[in-house]
């Protein structure tokens, strides 16, 4: 019997759901574009859209493939099963070429018909697929993900210009990227690391860096309060002289997990993240004046929100001898702290950059503020999308997938809705502020309500495994 390494990993309900979403994500916009595109579109623009679209599609497919491969790589059998890595790599290349061909053909056929475009699209799609896979399997992937994403967004139409200027060189470069990424994703080093690091992590968490890495970096610093608060971990009784609030704060800090000195080098991630953030925002704002603020908010806020809000899986928390009420308070405060962290990290940056770029239109400042508030309102939703509040098993994969999809959609839609639609409903600034404030309070109250119901009814121990 000929071994099948990769296909069984992808051909399962989760894989089919992702494929369905991918197909919808690909076909619906394509259908819209065919109806909206003028009869003689600008070839450069059409090529740009096609390349961008094909690359995004394949990058997302790559994330899914990488997640499945990473999960298999962390299994006990992955290292010692003969030819396992080789079979995975071969099947990935075969499936990758097929997937990239379909995506590239569909995309370029609609937007920029032509054999050359299809071929270039194929290579770019393959490179993006391999890059997406490598980012979710190679140890350094979590470090490289955000900087690369920002670079990708910052470059915008530049790659298209390069393609038009020297298509041969660009294609060769994309091929090199594909070869390097495939090599890295299936290397012995990657598989050794995967097996030695531990068991598989849920698909929706852990594979993509961001907030987790930030927190790892921060809590590894000697000045981070978790160091001092660690004695409080697991304590049920309040030591004499310590206030209730102090105890909750200490538990919130302790609940973020243990310090891992080996991750100290991840400080680079945070630096790169902030630098990339500054770069992109300033570029967009300076390039397009007022309208750029909206672009920046639309593109960056959901991304920053996603990175900041994903629940940290920390199963050991469930084993702590806390009462259900204590779990409730600590979880709610911790989620609130994450929301404040997000606002503090994004708000001042946008304001300072806007000011530095000569951006003095308060309407635009208001748009950014509304976009941030929009993320803040849907923020608690994220706490439920990646598993129950105490971490661990999130229930059925299908439910998790649907929650994750709904949450991603909400995060993407919220800022846009707040920027575009909301002002037409409430024009006065003070009315907007009041309504947004009330919505923020309501979302927190709802979050508290659901947490309370959860901690009253659920078996906490069963979900700690």
């Amino acid at each position: 019997m000929r071994p099948r390494a990769l296909l069984p990993l992808l051909a399962r309900p989760m894989g089919l759901a992702v494929a369905a979403q991918g197909a919808a994500f690909l076909l619906v916009p394509l259908a819209l574009m065919t109806t909206l595109t003028p009869s003689h579109p600008d070839p450069a623009r059409a090529a740009a859209a096609a390349l961008f679209f094909a690359a995004i599609q394949c990058l997302l497919l790559g994330f899914f493939c990488g997640g499945a491969i990473s999960q298999a790589a962390r299994c006990s059998f992955a290292w010692t099963t003969p030819s396992y890595r080789r079979r995975l790599r071969l099947e990935f290349i075969a499936a990758g070429v097929a997937m990239a061909a379909v995506v590239s053909f569909l995309t370029t056929a609609v937007m920029a018909p032509g054999v050359l475009q299809v071929l270039i699209g194929l290579v770019v799609a393959l490179a993006a697929l391999a890059a997406g896979t490598a980012l979710t399997t190679v140890p350094e992937g979590s470090l490289a993900f955000l900087p690369l994403l920002f670079a990708f967004l910052a470059l915008r139409e530049k790659p298209v210009e390069w393609v038009l200027r020297s298509p041969g060189l660009f294609t060769v470069a994309a091929l090199v990227v594909a070869v390097v990424c495939v090599g890295a994703a299936f290397s012995a080093r990657t598989f050794r690391w995967a097996l030695l690091v531990g068991g598989p992590s849920p698909f929706f968490s852990g594979t993509i860096g961001g907030y987790h890495s930030w927190l790892d970096i921060l809590r590894s610093m000697p000045w981070w309060p978790a160091h001092r608060g660690r004695q409080a971990r697991g304590a049920t009784d309040r030591p004499a002289g310590r206030t209730y609030a102090d105890t909750v704060v200490r538990r919130v800090l302790a609940s973020f997990g243990a310090v891992t000195p080996s991750k100290r080098f991840l400080i680079a991630t945070m630096g790169l993240w902030v630098v990339a953030y500054l770069f992109v925002i300033s570029r967009v704002i300076t390039a397009r004046s007022g309208a750029g603020a909206l672009d920046a908010a639309w593109i960056l806020l959901p991304m920053a929100g996603l990175a900041s809000s994903v629940r940290m899986i920390n199963p050991s928390r469930a084993a702590l001898p806390w009462s259900r009420d204590e779990h409730l308070v600590v979880t709610w405060v911790r989620d609130l702290a994450k929301l404040l962290w997000f606002v503090l990290a994004t708000g001042p940056l946008i304001v300072v950059l806007g000011w530095a770029c000569g951006w003095n239109a308060w309407d635009s400042a208001g748009a950014a503020a509304r976009a941030i508030a929009g993320i803040g309102i849907v923020f608690p939703l994220a706490q439920w999308s990646t598993g129950p509040p105490v971490g661990g098993s999130p229930g059925s994969t299908g439910a998790l997938y649907l929650k994750g999809f709904a949450f991603t959609a909400a995060f993407t839609i919220a800022p846009g809705w707040m920027v575009r639609v909301f002002p037409s409903i409430a024009e006065a600034a003070w009315v907007q502020a009041c309504v947004l404030g009330l919505l923020l309070l309501a979302s927190q109250a709802l979050h508290w309500h659901f947490l309370k119901r959860y901690f009253e009814r659920r078996d906490l121990v069963g979900e700690s495994a």
């Binding site: 071994p3 999960q71 298999a72 006990s76 099963t81 050794r192 994969t397």
Partner: protein
Amino acid sequence: MGDPIFDATGLSKAFGHIDALREVTLSLSGPSIIGLLGRNAAGKTTLLRHIVGLQLPTAGTARTFGVPTRILGHEQLAKIGVVTQTPVFLGWMTIEQQLRYLSAFYPRWDVDREAHLLELLELDGTSQIKALSTGSVQKLAIVASLCHRPTLLLLDEPVSNLDPIVRDRFLKFLLEVVQEDAATIVISSHVLHDVESVVDWVVCLNDGRVVENAALDDLKERYTEWRVAARTRDLPAHFEEACVAHETSVNRRTATLVVRAAEADVSAFRQRYDADVEVAPLNLQGLFPALVHGRRH
């Protein structure tokens, strides 16, 4: 024993400032069942990982089936079976699906043995892996490691999560494996009573070093247990005799000692301490403390 299945020369492995293995020189041959013993963090798991090339030496060399572990290929891996301490599988698969998934990669996969093991270990092939208990996952790891009839089987704490009945069945099955497949089995375990019933060779690690590498029967001949009872005067807090490898228990009236038989003079001992001495054979549990830190001469 025949050609070495694994041999290491000056094998060292360091994790930062921690030396997990220190200049280990070792040769394992078969067919036999080798007990890899040692305290926690002695380097047992690290050594097993080096055998399959999962970890690479900081210094020295390691070869499995005569091939440097860095470049173990299809041919060598097909002859190795591994049960790790905390086995991980694809949780969304059933046991049957997982075994079918793995079986395709091996040139010979014994479906009869698979069925026999599933029955022996009381596993339901239709169960989804993520719903299994820790013990059942360990059973699955055992099945997955044995069905391709490996000639080198590495078992890292394989019985720690098994109930006594299944543990007994599994250990008996290992004896069959050695006979049928002429396999070499390296079993790392802290459950010494169970291990003793199957191992014929013992490699003992302490602090990353091999401190003993001998046949179990030889060890039992080399060491013996003295149960000392004072007659008139109290016993000392410690015994200074060079033959005493380990003091299992000592109080004023009685003592239990592990002694090196070759150096021991029981008559002189009785006379010196005015005590009765009962000489008894040692089991692996009794030997273990002497092996890991009984190097007093």
